[in-house]
């Protein structure tokens, strides 16, 4: 029987199927961080059990860590307590722990792939909804709650009904300045934040085939923002080249054996999806959001849609615009901004810093803008330095911070003040997401860079052309 990529990976991990109930799914690799794990470890303690397979779990500190002076003790006592709990729990259960200052430390979804923890055909979970990132490698990866973290720690399994399947095809070539982030924001704007709820998505078509691994990670990362459990892309030579030789990927004969399996990981030609949608790449332009969920995005040259044209509750839509202090029908280009945030598991990888630098090179940060540039990991930070990007950023008046989730969810000190506007490369523009009262405009690193040097929402193509004629 023909199978989808998702079927192949899911079905091979089912330990037991419960009639009229969930599947017991074996989890190959498990990532934990300080925020969603302490109560799970406490649960193990209360039951008097140990972690069943500690070699399958990896721990890092990222969510509430400071992005400055990481060598000093963490000031916030609650954050410090959570970090201490993670370290103690990891040590007590022999789980590798990459805490603050460790060279492998970084955002959990950035360091997984970097260290070869993420491999094709694996099941990967983490108590974080953006675990979908790892699907870029042809893995089934999704976020779980703390009860499920406890399940994985204690039994290496979770219990989930098999989701439905959806394939999203984007064919053709992307236009200038259209990045993977724009592709994802475009799809979410079309499907809405609940359009893929109940589904696991496979991304297919020219655009994803031609996309870098970093770009694929950005797209899969945002799968959850359309409600999908996760998204995945069939592994190819690009995938294998990326992971080969990384610390936790198989070596020697094991690599050859793994490759044999990985090469079977694609959707059979006649595989049937529960839902299939197709978009034309040429329709996509650089995107920006104007409201309070990631589905409220438009091409940057467009105006904020009129309430009467939207699909959904008008009252909710108006409440959202009121929060943003925007009016329907207004243009986004030219709107003043106060902050720029480059980073997060969505856009905190080296390619994102290259893109940002390509725009700010030879320009200066606008005086009215506070910019937080936060690499996704120490490895990204190193690459930024090695490639000379740091010099470009510093010449333009920017400062590079230390790795972590930072202003994406503002658990640390990196909070956008109430009422201020931030162009952010992160993943959520929910009310208060980046700080109580903060207003977030989600966009790509190129759009963020254009805003950072002009102090307002600016189409990056304008700056790119300016450069061409200079």
């Amino acid at each position: 029987m023909s199978k989808t990529l998702f079927d192949k990976v899911w079905d091979s991990h089912v330990v037991k199927h419960i009639e009229n109930g969930p599947d017991v799914l074996f989890i190959d690799r498990h990532l934990v961080h300080e925020v969603t794990s302490p109560v799970a470890f406490l649960g193990l303690k209360n039951r008097g059990i140990k972690v069943l397979y500690p070699e399958r779990t990896f721990a890092t500190a990222d969510h509430n860590t400071p992005t400055r002076n990481q060598h000093l003790p963490v000031k916030d006592p609650l954050s410090a307590n959570q970090l201490k709990a993670l370290e103690e729990n990891a040590n007590a259960h022999n789980i590798p722990y990459w805490g603050l200052g460790h060279k492998k430390n970084g955002i959990v979804h950035v360091i997984g792939p970097e260290n070869g923890i993420t491999v094709p055909g694996a099941t990967i979970v983490c108590g974080d909804s953006h675990t979908s990132t790892h699907g870029a490698f042809g893995a089934i990866a999704f976020g779980i709650g703390t009860s499920e973290v406890e399940m994985v720690l204690s039994t290496q399994c979770i219990m989930q009904p098999k989701p439905k399947s959806m394939r999203i095809n984007v064919n053709g070539a992307l236009s200038e300045a259209v990045t993977p982030k724009d592709v994802a924001l475009f799809i979410i704007s079309k499907l809405s934040t609940s359009g893929a709820t109940g589904y696991f998505v496979e991304y297919a078509g020219d655009v994803f085939k031609n996309m870098s691994m970093e770009g694929r990670m950005t797209v899969c990362n945002l799968s959850i923002e359309m409600g999908a459990r996760g998204g995945m892309i069939a592994p190819d030579e690009k995938t294998f080249d990326y992971i080969k030789g990384r610390e936790y990927t198989p070596k020697g004969n094991d690599w050859d054996a793994a490759m044999e399996y990985w090469k079977t990981l694609y959707s059979d030609e006649d595989a049937v999806f529960d839902k299939e949608v197709t978009f034309d790449a040429s329709e996509i332009e650089p995107m920006i959001t104007f409201g309070t969920n990631p589905g409220m995005g438009i091409g940057i040259s467009n105006n904020i849609p009129l309430a009467e044209t939207i699909d959904g509750a008008v009252a909710t839509y108006k409440k959202s615009l009121e929060y943003m202090d925007y009016n329907e029908g207004e243009a986004m280009v030219g709107k003043p901004i106060d902050f720029v945030f480059l980073g997060s598991c969505t856009n905190g990888r080296i390619e994102d810093f290259r893109a940002f630098a390509s725009i700010v090179k030879g320009r200066k940060k606008a005086d009215n803008v506070t910019a937080w540039l936060v690499p996704g990991s120490h490895k990204v930070e190193e690459a930024i330095k090695e490639e000379g990007i740091l010099d470009i950023l510093e010449d333009a008046g920017f400062e590079l911070r230390e790795p972590g989730c930072s202003a994406c969810l503002a658990m640390n000190d990196d909070k956008i003040p109430a009422g201020k506007y931030a162009v952010s490369t992160s993943n959520r523009n929910f009310e208060g997401r980046q700080g109580p009262g903060a207003r977030t405009l989600l966009a790509s690193p190129l759009v963020a860079a254009a805003a950072a040097v002009t102090g307002k929402v600016t189409d990056p193509r304008e700056l790119m052309h300016e450069e061409a004629f200079a």
């Binding site: 039951r47 069943l52 709820t197």
Partner: protein, 198 residues
Amino acid sequence: MAYDKFNILTSSAVPLPIENVDTDQIIPARFLKATERKGFGDNLFRDWRYNSDGTPKEHFVLNNPIYSGKILVGGKNFGSGSSREHAAWAVYDYGFRCVVSSFFADIFRGNCLNIGVLPVQVSPAFLDKIFTAIEADPKTELEINLPDETITILATGESESFEINEYKKQNMLNGFDDIDYLLNIQDDIEKYAENTPL
């Protein structure tokens, strides 16, 4: 941790007729710093419920004494966003045992089931009827009947059935959790793991 048994719940309900209520509204990230599961109810809907100086926002439904009960009724796509189970904990800790909506985000729904809060998905038309009934009489009661898988507006007798898989239903009725089940089949799991390289 096994949780409360759920059978038939009859209660008035708190209406929140807003779509896409995300987990950052249910519990903002800055309140996720605890290492134990307690006290999250105090910060349920924190920024909708309180001003920045900590005084209650008069117009928010949780601050309106005419609304109370163990059932929270929300608009479409309730619980979207983050996987934080803290959102479900906050709902539970505040005193809710059931959330009704016309559509739930996946992870939030799963988290609720895992801690003993029953997510009840109804049709958009029935959701409207509930909101209308509560608007007419804030004390109107809903009956959530898990054994029969029905939800009824007691004042009008209008009723609808809802779905829950049999396994989860038994868990909720008996207060079992998934770890109890998984620990019971550990031999099967270990056999599987032997044949699964890292």
